[in-house]
């Protein structure tokens, strides 16, 4: 679909962005539990700026990550009130936002409060890269959020903008293994080597590893063999509207899993 690319003001204005929520499952001992749901904030369906990666890239070029993150978080947490009341909710923010927007932590807590989400239910997934100049502002912002009960994640490790440096700066409680690394890992020993290395890094950091973009049973089995328990992807569930989580068919036959699912605490 051809069109004029939106300006930053148009992107952050109410009504442009939309949010879907994708489940993250914990698979252990043959049982699946709902670990969390991740808010995926996108542009209008079918539009030039639909992709979250493209929105993020644009914000980075404009040095406007805080504006995009605030608009995304506000939208996600206002919609998250329709999710099951106990489930953990993951939202994302750029490392640059925490470095530059010193009020972002307070804003996040206020947005959660306005959406009826307890702060202890939040995971904040950090999107790299780490700020160019090393200082303590990012670490201090994250420590402040942890003190009020927010869990800190690191998104897209190993691809794009989240490097080992970002891992060191963020010291996450949870690490997202990028889908590029996982896709095809069952048949590719080199991919599997990287997945195994990140699983081990996660263990040593005391961080749980989430494998995102799981599309085949073989890749799932390969990742489980390497000790990964948390999964997200089309093999289980597509991204859903918040209201779809509380319907009568919650995780029923329509999406392939058997019966309603317990929430991982």
């Amino acid at each position: 679909m051809a069109e004029i690319a939106p300006t930053l003001d148009e992107i952050v204005a109410p009504g442009f962005l939309r949010v879907l929520f994708q489940p993250v499952l914990r698979l252990r001992f043959g049982a699946a539990r709902l670990h969390s749901v991740e808010a995926l904030v996108q542009g209008p369906s079918g539009s030039l700026f639909e992709s979250p990666a493209l929105l993020s890239d644009f914000a980075r070029r404009k040095c406007a990550e805080p504006a995009l993150d605030r608009a995304s978080v506000r939208l996600a947490l206002s919609a998250a009130g329709a999710l099951p009341p106990e489930v953990r909710v993951a939202v994302a923010a750029h490392a640059a936002t925490l470095h530059r927007d010193l009020e972002f932590g307070g804003f996040l807590c206020d947005a959660a409060d306005a959406g009826g989400i307890a702060v202890s239910r939040l995971t904040l997934g950090i999107v790299g890269p780490a700020p160019g100049r090393a200082d303590d502002r990012l670490r201090e912002a994250l420590d402040g959020l942890r003190r009020v009960g927010v869990r800190v994640g690191l998104d897209d490790l190993g691809e794009g903008h989240s490097s080992f440096r970002t891992l060191l700066d963020v010291r996450p409680d949870e690490v997202k293994l990028d889908r590029y690394l996982l896709g095809g890992c069952a048949a590719d020993p080199f991919r599997r080597a990287i997945v195994a290395a990140i699983a081990e890094v996660g263990r040593r950091f005391g961080a749980e590893v989430v494998a995102e973009g799981v599309e085949t049973a073989d890749d799932l089995a390969a990742a489980r063999d390497l000790g990964i328990e948390l999964f997200q992807g089309q093999l289980f569930f597509p991204a859903l509207q918040a209201g779809e989580y509380t319907g009568p068919e919650l995780f029923g036959g329509a999406h392939g899993a058997a019966g309603a699912m317990e929430i991982d605490r």
């Binding site: 051809a2 069109e3 004029i4 690319a5 939106p6 300006t7 030039l48 992709s51 990666a53 493209l54 890239d57 644009f58 070029r61 404009k62």
Partner: protein, 133 residues
């Protein structure tokens, strides 16, 4: 441009004048092109990083202006899209711009106003040289 059965050629137009964008876009869409438009450099660069274009039509003098040398944008686009045709279509009037634009990697330098059929012939030639369209 899509009658051959190949995917339609894709154009990116950067100009801060939304009327020019709308008219140019309509004109080329009727001829079978896919046309994406941007009113600022950051949006154009973002689109270039995520999509492949056969031809870029660029007004380097934008309001508000980008940082640095205006024509530097042409060099950046050329670096990002080595094979795309690049047409600089500008309302700027200073002397020596054509030479500078070509040095930055533009294929063609045009001053506004231009008749759209003339622009179309130039773009068809640039796109055809890539075996696309």
């Amino acid at each position: 441009v899509s009658s051959s059965g190949r995917a339609p050629a894709r154009l990116l137009i950067l100009d801060d004048d939304r009327d020019i964008l709308a008219g140019t876009r309509r004109f080329f869409e009727r001829r079978g092109y896919v046309v994406d438009c941007a009113v600022e450099r950051a949006a154009a660069e973002t689109l270039l990083a995520h999509h492949d274009y056969h031809c870029l039509v660029v007004e380097p003098w934008l309001d508000p202006p980008s940082e640095g040398d205006h024509l530097e944008v042409v060099g950046r686009f050329r670096g990002r899209s080595p094979l795309a045709g690049i047409v600089v279509l500008t309302g700027a009037a200073a002397a020596g711009l054509e030479e500078a634009a070509l040095r930055q990697g533009a294929d063609v330098f045009l001053r506004k106003p231009q008749r759209l059929p003339h622009l179309a012939r130039i773009i068809e030639r640039l796109v055809g040289a890539q075996g696309a369209g």
